[in-house]
Amino acid sequence: MSGNLPSAARIVSITEENVRVKTLVLNARAQAQPGQFAMVWLPGADEKPFSIVDDHPLTFTIARVGPFTQQVHALNVGDRLWWRGPFGRGFEIVEGNGAHLLIGGGYGAAPLAFLARRLRAAGRQVIAIIGAKTKAELLLEARFAAMGCTVVVTTEDGSAGGRGLATDVARDVAHRERVATVYACGPEGMLAAVERLCAELHLPGQVSREGYMRCGLGVCGSCHHGPWLVCRDGPVFTVG
């Protein structure tokens, strides 16, 4: 009868990743796969889904986009936040020859950084394509580089790296290098492009989708995507 109530954890460090994004490290541990998420709660405010970007210690990378993330950004080291999870299905590390191609759009880079760490620990070659609208919104490039990933940066306005979409860069990479699997996380439009790319190049792919989360438990149906529940059958889905 112990259930899965939110647990309180203290913030032990806060890193400003860019103008809109902070990484919060908590004094808590989870046992999670990259791509899994947690429901993060602030009593009196709201509870929203965030990817687990490290499980030990538990870490979230949170973009300020609205009321809840605003309140999270206002927290200081020593303050508490609450979480329950991990939920859903994460990325599966696939066998196969070649590079593991990671495509991150916006805060999508966050769960991929967790995946990259696991891939690198397993000795895999990782190419990380980090896309954003503009330079100021680029996320975690340095962290991927420090792990020994090949990092390719691209922005829609060309303010950093090449100008263009992450999926176009991915196509170029896939033509140059042998790719084992594509892993992507980012806005729905980008994911659709990744799906087409995987089909076009006959590459296995895994994409992390968003859905509107209420329960996070696979019952309320609010996160449906076709016959699937993003919170339970996803957020990571196989494509290609």
């Binding site: 109530l5 709201d46 329960c215 019952v219 149906g221």
Partner: protein
């Protein structure tokens, strides 16, 4: 030995007695189809009201240990959009032989009638009238299901608004559920569903000192409520002659057998989807079939209601 799990619910044939309970996975046609393919004998849509509703802010659903507690707040796209969803779902369910139950709610008696009338145009197999959600309150600020007179009023209004069979869904949170059951039967209900969530309940986070649900209180469901649900079904079955859909805490074949023995014609399954996924319907159905085989029962009617014999 041939095994017949089928059920006749108000003239509608269900291939097996397991019904997806309202509010669980009933939000889209592809999801409803998936649940049917997983083994449900009928599926119920998420309760739909006259107009779109956003529902309550999060947290809305929590696993507190004995099951779930929820205050989702009836988010739904409104009846106009729901008609589309139901029409698509019916088409997809037809080849599977799995009927669809359209669940409705409203804030007023007239609202119930209007939603029933509109939803009937989509031609669901049955309409379930949810008068028992803590978020649907009568004039005096309480769910219609808490008072025999208001429960009967809603039932009569819906009865007049549609020719489809109607199931009225009751709340256990009353001093005398049998009185409510009798009232809705007299007012024209073709069937009764029992129970909606128990309580409400409250779970407090002891670190913040705050109730966890944003709505502070919520309905309790899952294994913890099973003995209450079984008693309600037993008492209602002894008092009315319309069929009863027994809902509450069913998670396995044994629990389904228990509901049927209490007198239920069909058995709703909701929170069990949390632990078991949509596949839980196939598992419960197979456990039920295995149990029947082991006990030499060929059909549900051979043991339905036997808990009433002494």
């Amino acid at each position: 030995m041939s095994l017949d799990l089928s059920v006749d619910l108000c003239g509608i044939r269900l291939p097996n007695p397991l019904v997806l309970a309202s509010g669980i996975l009933g939000t889209s046609a592809p999801l409803l189809e998936r649940v049917a393919r997983c083994g449900a004998g009928a599926v119920t849509t998420k309760s739909c009201g006259p107009a779109p509703r956003a529902g309550h802010p999060n947290p809305t659903v929590i696993d507190w240990g004995g099951g779930l507690i929820n205050a989702v707040g009836l988010p739904n796209p409104g009846v106009e959009a729901e008609v589309e969803i139901i029409a698509t779902a019916i088409e997809q369910l037809a080849p599977l032989g799995v009927p669809l139950i359209a669940s409705i709610f409203a804030e007023t008696v007239a609202g119930f009638a209007a939603v029933a009338e509109r939803i009937s145009t989509a031609n669901p197999d049955l309409i379930e009238v949810n008068i028992s959600c803590p978020n649907v309150t009568a004039e005096f600020g309480r769910p219609f299901a808490l008072d025999p007179a208001s429960a009967a009023q809603v039932t009569a209004a819906v009865r007049a608004a549609t020719t489809l069979p109607i199931i009225v869904k009751l709340s256990p949170n009353v001093t005398d559920i049998v009185a409510i059951a009798r009232a809705v039967e007299d007012a024209g209900a073709d069937a009764i569903a029992a129970i909606n969530t128990l309580g409400p309940g409250m779970v407090i986070d002891v670190e913040s000192g705050q109730p966890i649900l944003a709505n502070r209180v919520g309905g309790v469901s899952g294994p913890a409520i099973r003995p209450i649900a079984v008693r309600c079904v037993y008492d209602i079955c002894a008092a009315v002659s319309v069929p009863v859909v027994g809902i509450g805490g069913v998670t396995c074949g044994r629990d389904a057998v228990e509901m049927l023995m209490a007198g239920a014609t069909a058995v709703g399954v909701g929170s069990a989807v949390y632990q078991g996924g949509p596949e839980v319907f196939g598992h419960i159905r197979d456990e039920l079939a295995g149990w029947m085989q082991a006990h030499d029962y060929a059909s549900l009617s051979e043991f339905r209601g036997i808990a009433h014999e002494r």
